[in-house]
């Protein structure tokens, strides 16, 4: 899949001016509210007509204002999962699911429907009406409805934003399976870095109507400037790991990664499972020598790649750990004290308990490799 987007659009005092290309399996459009994320996906879907734009998916031009091309939304075959679900209240769940399926010319092709219904776990809801569903169920049906229209691209605009944490945790695995098993390219809008870290292969960072960063998620999130966009609490990196061992006695799990073995509280995944872990920058300590007599179980050798803006009391330090990228956040005083500079070999210290269940993403199929 390749998505090429160039948009210039004015909305009142807000000026959107973005251009990016992505071929990622799940591209996250990340940014604060008001950064222009929804405007971008609305333009891709054809819900708005941008002032100037060029938008193409897999070489098919949907919008080219210079050449006067504008393909109407119903002819684009771009699925859209809205923040509020937008299920049709007068139709049953089954009818909702089949709505786009029918327009895609598939009638009631039972195989497709059965597959999606099973994947999303919504079989028991088919005869109900949207009003009788919980928020999480509605969102799963909305995803199924979009998928059954056989889209060439799936847009998801903050599909979890209106749900509580428990419901979010319920839906995230389904999105991971869409990404890995159905292999439908997804553009996922979010202002929550935890979701981006867990789901995205590629990330486009939007700020105030402009693209600030584009690239593979592990790389972009480890850039030292990210904390300004992400927020101090949540900024961090993503690391790909494989489950190698469960220590039942101590209730710990050992993970293999490019950075070396990582020990975390017990993860509910079979040995050999591929996972990805969001490591927050504030949870990493740096040491100039290998520390001893420490309660933290993870001490990983690292090389300093880049040091961020030094104007505040804390500083972001980009690290390379054998090819994995992480971000650490330390005080300016420590930076001076340890004489940290690019190229220096250090040790990154990570407390096991800093990794929580919500930081762990599941990867169902790693054929694409880089993530």
């Amino acid at each position: 899949m390749s998505l090429k987007v160039e948009i210039a659009h004015r909305l009142g005092a807000f000026q959107l001016e973005v251009a990016f290309e992505t071929s990622g399996r799940l591209t996250a459009l990340f940014g604060r509210s008001g950064a222009g994320k929804t405007t971008v996906v609305n333009a891709i879907a054809g819900l708005i007509r941008p002032d100037r734009a060029k938008i193409s998916v897999e070489g098919t031009m949907f919008v080219d204002t210079e050449r006067g091309i504008f393909v109407p939304k119903h002819k684009r075959r771009i699925g859209y999962v809205f923040q509020e679900g937008r299920l049709f209240p007068h139709l049953t769940i089954r009818q909702n699911l089949l709505y786009g399926h029918w327009f895609a010319g598939k009638g009631e092709d039972a195989a497709d429907v059965g597959e999606i219904v099973t994947l999303l776990g919504i079989g028991h809801l088919l005869q109900r009406r949207p009003a009788d569903l919980s928020g999480g169920e509605k969102q799963r049906v909305a995803i199924g409805r979009a998928l059954l229209a056989s889209p060439r691209l799936l847009l998801m605009d903050e599909p979890l934003a209106s749900l509580d944490d428990a419901r979010k945790a319920e839906i995230l695995p389904y999105i991971e399976r869409l990404r890995d098993e159905l292999r439908i390219p997804i553009v996922y809008v979010s202002h929550a870095i935890a979701e981006v870290a867990r789901l995205a292969t590629t990330v486009v960072v939007l700020d105030d109507g402009r693209v600030r960063e584009v690239g593979a998620v592990a790389e972009v999130l480890a850039r030292p400037g990210m904390h300004r966009l992400v927020g101090r609490q949540e900024a961090g990196g993503v690391i790909a790991v494989r489950v190698t061992e469960h220590d039942l006695k101590d209730e710990l799990t050992v993970l293999a990664s490019k950075a070396g073995p990582l020990i975390v509280p017990r993860v509910d995944a079979a040995i050999g499972s591929e996972l990805r872990i969001h490591v927050r920058a504030r949870d990493i300590m740096l040491a100039s020598q290998r520390p001893v007599g420490l309660s933290a179980l993870n001490v990983l050798p690292a090389t300093v790649v880049e040091i961020g803006d030094r104007s505040g009391p804390t500083v972001g330090v980009s690290l390379d750990l054998g090819g994995a990228h992480l971000l650490a956040r330390i005080t300016r005083r420590s930076l001076a004290h340890l004489a940290i500079e690019p190229g220096l070999h250090v040790f990154a210290v990570l407390k096991s308990i800093a990794i929580e269940q919500r930081d762990i993403g599941y990867v169902f199929d790693d054929r694409e490799g880089e993530r």
Binding site: H74, K75, F82, P89, Y99, G100, F103, A131, R145
Partner: protein, 231 residues
Amino acid sequence: MLDLSPEEWSAVRLSVKVALWAMTASLPFGIAIALVLARGNFWGKSILNGIVHLPLVMPPVVTGYILLLLFGRRGPIGHWLDVNLGIVFAFRWTGAALACAVMGFPLMVRAIRLSIEAVDRKLEDAAGTLGANRSWVFLTITLPLIVPGLIAGAILSFAKSMGEFGATITFVANIPGETQTLPSAIYTFTQVPGGEAGALRLMTISIVISMGALLLSEMLSRQAASLFGRR
């Protein structure tokens, strides 16, 4: 008490027929105009709105007289329809239906327009992304969602038609068996000595039919709401 004479029965039957026709024939136009008023954005929208609502504020006699001028045999529209399509309104029951439709139209449009304005357009966008073009979106999303408004509008038009008097009698007169609807028949009874009993009988029928229509509409709306309305 309800021992009606053949003439009285014919007035009742005619009234119901006229009201049903007025309601049914004006429904498509009502939907179209309500859509234009709810969704359209064009020059002259308030003028169109004014014209639609005129029958509500003008004396019914004036409406009836305008209809006579336009749709009478010599009127520009009436003459054309007579010559080209063989449709005659003047002094026929069809004319009574036309007068009733025009008088009930503002009520119908108002009810439908309100329900269209209440439709969440985001649902229509969602249907669009699922492959439905504008006509399909209207048929499968908008129309079902405004069913309660359609019912309300149709019943209002029907009830108005059952009671319409001024425009009808001005346009198509008061011909027993052809244009003498319930109100005209009641009026006739009140004009002759000893007609009170007949007037009372017809009044009772008129109240029963109107009340029945209202109850039916209430029931249908509730059903539609439980089926479609909840989000």
